[in-house]
Symmetry: C2
Subunit: 192 residues, 2 copies
């Protein structure tokens, strides 16, 4: 039951036989978080990449009190502080549960073991990182070229499901603006 979603996620991109499934699942550690629990906190070594089985996570950067949201991760998404995960460094990001959330975690060591044992998983992670790169390049394009109001519209369209589950404060921190200013943007939109 626990592994159904993650296996489907993997088998969208590569096909597995039973022993590969077994081995992969044996490397995963299940963890449950309550609302507001930290999956990762800044400064702590980032040992895991997490797959969200249920619930929702928020990854954010804290710059003396001002929070910038790097990503929201829903069910069926992978999330980590990729820089610190790969390079075994203290995390820059915090990852917090926005509601009761279950994740499956893969350590860097287990990921390496998996890739060594079953190289076909190289393809899987190639695609995962390829998609992450696409997502981030598109976000960079928007951040640089669009004013806040349009970035807000795009966010609501693209992440409709997420937008309805989180607060405006969190959306503002994803867009790189203050909650007060997002409130003004929304007020203007209602008028027109």
């Amino acid at each position: 039951m626990t592994f159904n979603l993650i296996l489907a996620n993997v088998e969208k991109h590569i096909s597995l036989n039973e022993s590969e499934r077994k081995f992969f699942c044996s490397l995963l550690k299940e963890k449950k978080f309550s609302k507001k629990d930290l999956v990762l906190s800044e400064g702590q070594t980032c040992r895991n990449i997490s797959f969200v089985n249920s619930g929702i996570l928020r990854a954010f950067f804290n710059y003396d009190g001002k929070e910038s949201t790097i990503m929201f991760a829903m069910k069926d998404w992978w999330v980590t502080d990729i820089n610190c995960f790969i390079k075994h460094q203290p995390a820059m990001l915090n990852i917090v549960a926005l509601e009761k959330t279950e994740v499956l975690q893969l350590t860097k060591e287990n990921m390496d073991k998996l890739l060594h044992e079953f190289p076909k998983f190289e393809k899987f992670f190639r695609i995962i990182f390829q998609n992450a790169y696409i997502r981030e390049q598109l976000r960079t394009i928007q951040n640089l070229s669009l004013p806040a109001a349009e970035r807000y519209d795009n966010f609501c369209t693209k992440y409709e499901r997420i937008a309805n589950m989180i607060t405006q404060k969190q959306i503002a921190s994803y867009l790189g603006i203050t909650p007060e200013f997002l409130s003004v943007i929304r007020a203007k939109k209602t008028k027109s």
Copy 2:
């Protein structure tokens, strides 16, 4: 001679035998561009990922006249409009040569052929995209949390070599500010 740099780039991450080298190189197409030539123009299907053998490229997004630079690619870097390359869509980005530049290009079809024939290249592209993702996630963190003056400092530190080869206008478009404002930032810095 032409393939020395790209083979070294690949063999930093995976080891190749002679037939793998041969096959890989046979899929590459060499192209030369003069200063200001377009390697890719917006609207055109993005068929290639390009490896810079010499020279320097700039990838930018054009939003009715206002240009936003997505990346600079130096010798030994890979560059493409990743979204449109993977999805076979019309490019959003333009890629222009900032000086006489030689590239080696791999089409999506040839990349697929390569991955199919020699799956070990999955690992190579996994690492390439992983690094690209790291780069973009770090950039997003900075874009959201730092004011323009600090982003400029970071750019000069991190891309020192690039910073000395390009105009301030181009740096400004990478930072998401106007050249006039970058000029003001620099003037203030000199004073202090």
